[in-house]
């Protein structure tokens, strides 16, 4: 079997009032079954990369393959294999979790029974109260909505999961529940995960390898333990300062 993900020279510039270089010549491969972390400050290009892998954005240069299929030319082969969670839980807010998930399921060829059973199972593991499954989503807290987003991504049984800051902005408890769920899912057969995060500790505990991205470039790509060993630091946050010469927070303010 081919690598789960292979990117070569990916670049993307957005042309608005000013040109923004969101991704600048990024190359990497992810073997099957790996949890691949991407950490970087706001605006460093994490979501842009995730969107390219999701077939939602076409790169200017370079290519990306998912299980050997090009994301631009062979998107119809890529789509059944992937799913995604983004920071903002995008749903039809007026209707219930159930109605949203039933819709999502049908897009992946799943019937309503199967959808209900699978999503309730996942939501149960995430500590989601089943009663609220039938309530309009706009009544639910951000944490609950994000759990539904997690269920939406996992229940279609993708081979590659793209988790784009799944825990950003969550209350500590929801955050922990989501992290624990991801941790358990990691062991399931054949699942490969790309996880972007703000949270160095999350990257350290969940990821097999971590890429540090700044201004659209990968400035480091190692196992967390290797990163720590090489730099002689005790946590990734310090490694980050070491590489960039800047405080994590400083970079955030700049962007």
């Amino acid at each position: 079997m081919k690598e789960a993900v292979k990117c070569e020279g990916l670049s993307k510039t957005f042309k608005r009032k000013e040109k923004v270089v969101a991704l600048d010549n990024v190359s990497f491969t992810i073997p099957k079954n790996e949890v691949f972390g991407i950490v970087g400050p706001n605006g460093s290009g994490k979501s842009t990369l995730i969107r390219i892998l999701s077939t939602l954005l076409i790169p200017d240069n370079g290519y990306a393959q998912i299980f050997g299929h090009d994301v631009v030319r062979e998107y119809s082969k890529v789509r059944p294999l992937i799913n995604r969670v983004s920071v903002d839980a995008a749903f039809f807010k007026g209707i219930s979790a159930w109605e949203n998930l039933r819709y999502a399921g049908r897009l992946y060829g799943l019937g309503s029974k199967e959808t209900k059973q699978k999503t309730l199972d996942i939501l149960g593991q995430l500590g989601f109260d089943e009663k609220r499954y039938y309530e309009p989503l706009e009544n639910l807290s951000r944490g609950m909505q994000q759990k539904i987003a997690i269920a939406r991504a996992f229940f279609t049984a993708p081979m590659l999961l793209l988790l784009d800051e799944p825990t950003t902005g969550l209350d500590p408890r929801s955050k922990m529940e989501v992290q624990e769920f991801v941790h358990r899912a990691m062991d399931s057969n054949g699942l490969t995960i790309v996880l972007t995060t703000h949270d160095m500790k999350e990257a350290e505990s969940l990821c097999d390898r971590v890429a540090i991205i700044i201004k659209g470039r990968f400035v480091a790509l190692e196992k967390p333990s290797t990163l720590l060993k090489k730099s002689g630091k005790s946590n990734l946050e310090e490694v980050f300062i070491d590489i960039t010469g800047k405080e994590w927070k400083e970079i955030e303010y700049e962007s």
Binding site: S54, S86, Y103, L107
Partner: protein
């Protein structure tokens, strides 16, 4: 996914759109009431001029209502997805754009036919008009066939909210307003200034209205209406694929320039 799965997938959109209608049922009642009252009010303009004038005007209100529904349901199903940000999830799902759009269109046509029929029935009851001489089957056939062309136009219009949520909505309304003016909804197109009339001749609504009036007022038979039916079928079978092609082009452009994104 195979053909069966794709057909199955189009159910997703019908089901979802009806779930949204159910959720905002209050608005549904408001719009329906408004449509009915509007049709009655327009019919009443012709009350002194006899039953034929009433029917003439009511057909206008009905066809206009039908066209607006198709148009809006289709382009709003895209606009709505953009507001909610779900468009990215729909677009990355393993479903053909054809399935996606046809699902939305099927919903719009079903919904439009139900509403238009309801309005016609209520108007007929309100005015106590006898439809004895009318050719009702022809009426329904023309309504459905015209739906194909309106769906095609709706698909082309749906490109606008895909590229820009807000400006897209403006443009859709203006497009619709032009159709209202040129298609002879409440008058014969001959009363329009000559320079506008070429637009009347290319609007499928013009032919729909003529044929429906003939079927309802003169009881014209299907044989005589056949040329119009064929014309509408041909227009529809050009406009729908064209709409899908244009939509896919716009999708490509949006993915190239990053226009799909809402935030995050």
């Amino acid at each position: 996914m195979n053909l069966k799965a794709q057909a199955y997938g189009s159910i997703a959109f019908i089901e979802r759109n009806f779930a949204l209608i159910k959720r905002y049922i209050g608005w549904e009642v408001v719009f329906l009431t408004y449509n009915i009252v509007n049709a009655l009010a327009i019919g009443l303009i012709g009350a002194r001029m006899g039953k034929d004038m009433v029917l003439y005007l009511v057909v206008g209100a009905m066809v206009w209502g039908f066209l607006s529904i198709l148009f809006h349901e289709i382009s709003e199903s895209i606009a709505w997805e953009r507001w909610e940000g779900t468009i990215e999830y729909t677009f990355m799902a393993p479903i053909n754009r054809f399935t996606h759009l046809i699902g939305n269109c099927l919903h719009a046509v079903t919904y439009g036919v139900i509403r238009s029929t309801l309005i016609l029935v209520l108007v007929v009851l309100f005015f106590g008009i006898s439809l004895k001489g009318a050719n009702l089957p022809a009426l329904v056939i023309i309504l459905i066939v015209s739906g194909l062309s309106f769906v095609g136009l709706g698909l082309i219009a749906a490109v606008l909210p895909l590229l820009s949520t807000e400006k897209g909505a403006y443009a859709t309304h203006i497009f619709e307003a032009v159709l209202l003016l040129v298609s002879g909804v409440y008058y014969e197109i001959e009363v329009l200034p000559v320079w506008i009339r070429p637009l009347s001749y290319i609007s499928p609504a013009t032919y729909t209205l003529r044929a429906m009036r003939a079927a309802l007022l003169q009881g014209t038979g299907l044989g005589e209406l056949l040329p119009t039916i064929v014309l509408l079928l041909v227009t529809g079978s050009i406009l729908i694929p064209l709409g899908i092609i244009v939509f896919r082009q716009a999708e490509f452009y949006a993915k190239k320039t990053g226009k799909l994104k809402r935030s995050g």
